[in-house]
């Protein structure tokens, strides 16, 4: 709990910064746009329709879409920028809609009076229409505030730290305290910001300067806090900090810390962890020099980056192909860690024994009566296609779910087979049997350390440290580290420390 709370200022500040920036842009764009289109027979439905359409896109998808969209434009494609732009789109609709509604539902008698006393169109807008529409516009801003605080938790997978880090890493490492801290902090932040916006409105309406000016000052103060963080991040020279990327599952949370702590211990250079990245987001980030190093898996790169569909000859051949294949991307393979984390079909041991299933080919006669549970990615991946085609495999039903829930589902009998990861600590604790891929449908998945070529040239000290990790983690060790986090409630940092202590030269 205390460990969680120590992270709070950083995450909360980042979350606040994103939220307020998105709201500011939302207000600055939407209110004038709303004023502009109100009453226009063509523009008003068009703009409102477009805004509603954007709103119907699931928020995670919208944020994730910003990554390739920005990459195509050559801009910074992971981290703050895609998160901010996605959130801006989200904050705009309620403000835009309420501005239009507020301005078009004014009493026509008041508008006529405003004209007849001799106001210019501009004076009508500023002295009469906007003040009268203000409560409705502010209601829109309040809706946007609450939405944006909630949606900003989804900035984590696109590489911007937020309170979502608590939630995503907590869900993956089954640390529900962490999930709870994230949710409560986000809810509290939403309430506080909402109350401040409401206070500004009340102050304006009742003409209490102290109230609205005071609330505005508090809001500005809140906005300055994350700004100082940004400034500090800018002033710390980027070249000394090593940026370590990590994907969104337990093993990766542990590996980023092992890498980071090893580098800091050996070179004295600080490490910044950029975590909970989507699988392909991490590779793109490395390629575009937005992170310096991360751990990926040979099979993943073989199928998704090299786009190979053929059956590899051996583990070593795959590594060699990748080493060569990644060069055009400006990415360098530094070392293999020594373990493999492959997609593998697994089922509860008692059933497997009863049905005499050890290999995938022995599953075939039973598969049509079984449901296969899997993470969100698997059914989209070439590994599944290859598995299906190689074995001519068909299940009764395929179900995607959160990896953490998948193990519960196979234990309770909700699904009969799952696509597990071979280093997952839960394979042992849930007493599952990993089925042997006897026809070699799935390529090997050696864990490999990747760095950008630019980083490799300029940082031989770090590269040496990373090389020293080669072959140091075997599958059993990785599985037990994963289990220590998933099952025994250690934090990823504690698991990493335990590993490094055991490795330390005596």
């Amino acid at each position: 709990m205390i460990e969680q709370l120590q992270l709070l200022p950083g995450y909360l500040g980042a979350h606040l910064g994103l939220t307020l920036a998105a709201l500011l842009v939302g207000i600055v764009v939407s209110v004038p746009l709303g004023i502009l289109v109100t009453g226009s027979r063509r523009l008003e439905p068009f703009i409102l329709g477009t805004a509603s359409l954007i709103q119907t896109i699931p928020s995670l998808a919208l944020l994730a879409f910003m990554v390739p969209a920005l990459a195509a434009l050559g801009a910074q494609s992971i981290g703050y920028l895609p998160a901010l732009i996605g959130l801006c789109f989200y904050s705009m609709l309620p403000i835009l809609r309420n501005t239009v509604v507020g301005l078009s539902n004014l009493d026509p008698a008041v508008t006529e009076a405003a004209q007849s006393v001799g106001m210019t169109p501009r004076q009508q807008l500023l002295r009469v229409e906007l003040p009268l529409a203000l409560p409705v516009i502010i209601a829109g801003i309040r809706t946007a505030t609450v939405w944006t605080v909630g949606t900003a938790t989804l900035s984590t997978p696109v590489g911007a730290p937020s309170l979502g880090n608590y939630i995503f890493s907590g869900l993956q490492t089954r640390n529900y305290t962490s999930v709870l801290v994230g949710c409560i902090a986000a809810a509290a932040l939403a309430l506080v910001l909402d109350a401040l916006v409401r206070a500004i409105e009340l102050g304006l309406r009742r003409r209490r300067r102290v109230l609205w000016a005071g609330s505005l000052c508090v809001l500005t103060g809140l906005a300055l806090w994350p700004l100082t963080n940004v400034l500090r991040a800018v002033t710390i020279h980027e070249e000394t900090t090593v940026r370590i990327g990590g994907k969104n599952f337990t093993e990766q949370y542990i590996l980023t810390r092992i890498l980071g702590r090893s580098i800091t211990a050996a070179t004295g250079r600080p490490a910044r962890l950029i975590e909970s990245l989507g699988s392909t987001v991490a590779f793109d980030a490395l390629r575009r020099d937005q992170i310096d190093v991360y751990v990926d898996y040979s099979g993943t790169l073989w199928t998704t980056v090299l786009e190979r569909a053929d059956k590899p000859e051996s583990r070593a051949a795959v590594i060699e192909d990748i080493r060569l294949g990644l060069q055009p991307f400006g990415v360098e393979l530094v070392a293999t860690l020594g373990f493999e984390n492959a997609y593998a079909l697994a089922m509860p041991r008692p059933q497997a024994e009863r049905l005499h299933i050890r290999r995938v080919s022995e599953l075939l006669p039973h598969a049509q009566a079984m449901t296969l549970g899997s993470d969100y990615e698997f059914f989209q991946r070439p590994e599944w296609t290859s598995l299906k085609q190689t074995y001519n495999l068909t299940f009764r039903e395929l179900r995607s779910m959160d990896p953490a829930l998948m193990y519960e589902a196979v234990r309770s009998g909700g699904v009969q087979v799952i696509s597990a990861f071979s280093t997952d600590g839960r394979i042992a604790s849930y007493d599952l049997r990993v089925l042997d891929d006897d026809r070699g449908a799935i390529p090997p998945y050696d864990a490999i350390i990747l760095v950008s070529a630019r980083f490799s040239r300029n940082n031989p000290d770090v590269i040496n440290t990373l090389r020293s990790l080669a072959g140091r983690i075997d599958a059993a060790r990785m599985r037990s580290m994963n289990a220590s986090v998933d099952e025994k409630g250690l934090s990823p940092g504690e698991a990493a420390d335990a590993f490094l202590q055991a490795q330390a030269p005596r």
Binding site: D107, A109, V110, E112, A113, V117, P131, R205
Partner: protein
Amino acid sequence: MIELQALTRDFDKHRAVDAVSLIVAEGELLILLGGSGSGKTTTLKMINRLIEPTSGKVLLFGEDVCAMKAFELRRRIGYVFQRIGLFPHLTVAENVGITPDLLGWDRLRISARVDTLLELVELDPSVFRDRRPDALSGGQAQRVAVARALAAEPRVMLLDEPFGALDPLTRDRLQQSFLRIRRQLRLTAIFVTHDVMEAILLGDRIAVMRDGRVVQTGNARELIHSPADESIRQLISAPLRQSETAAALLRPPRGTP
């Protein structure tokens, strides 16, 4: 002095006002009398350009109103209408002082002017200055609206059924106040109404409108004694007949002391 020259307004294919020509002398109150759809409100709104004419001209003291900026024109003309239209977010004083404020008067002058006007419309400034419009009765609100229209000392006033939504007693009191104010300030005014009795009581001259045209102009006496047609005679005599009947009904029955 206001002069309308062949003033015409079309809405789509419908001609709402058809070549209306009128002259209102300085200090005169002209009534535009007619039923709904007769074009009287459209005619009025073309004078302060709340509606732009399709053709024809409006001259205000000899100046073509379409040659002026609309907002400058309107600051010179007081305008009162049935739906009142006080600004709900402003106090009574701010409502009344709005046009002087737009004209850039200094605060003290506006404040003094507001008090004078509230007294003129028989509202105690110390009571009403800081009230919000939602704390006023219908009659009080319309008095404030009259004060607002008069704030920048216009020489011309346009009134569009200003007392139409008020109860008879309040309407009577406001009519009396208005007559007094008009004489006091020597205002030139055009007053739109469909109420014949109001037209007879307030107007120096009445222009009867029907289907977008002025069918007859004259004072009440002329209209009743030499009506242009039968329907005008009917129109003007109806309220007189009604009030005679009412008076007869109210007379004490014969034989009682």
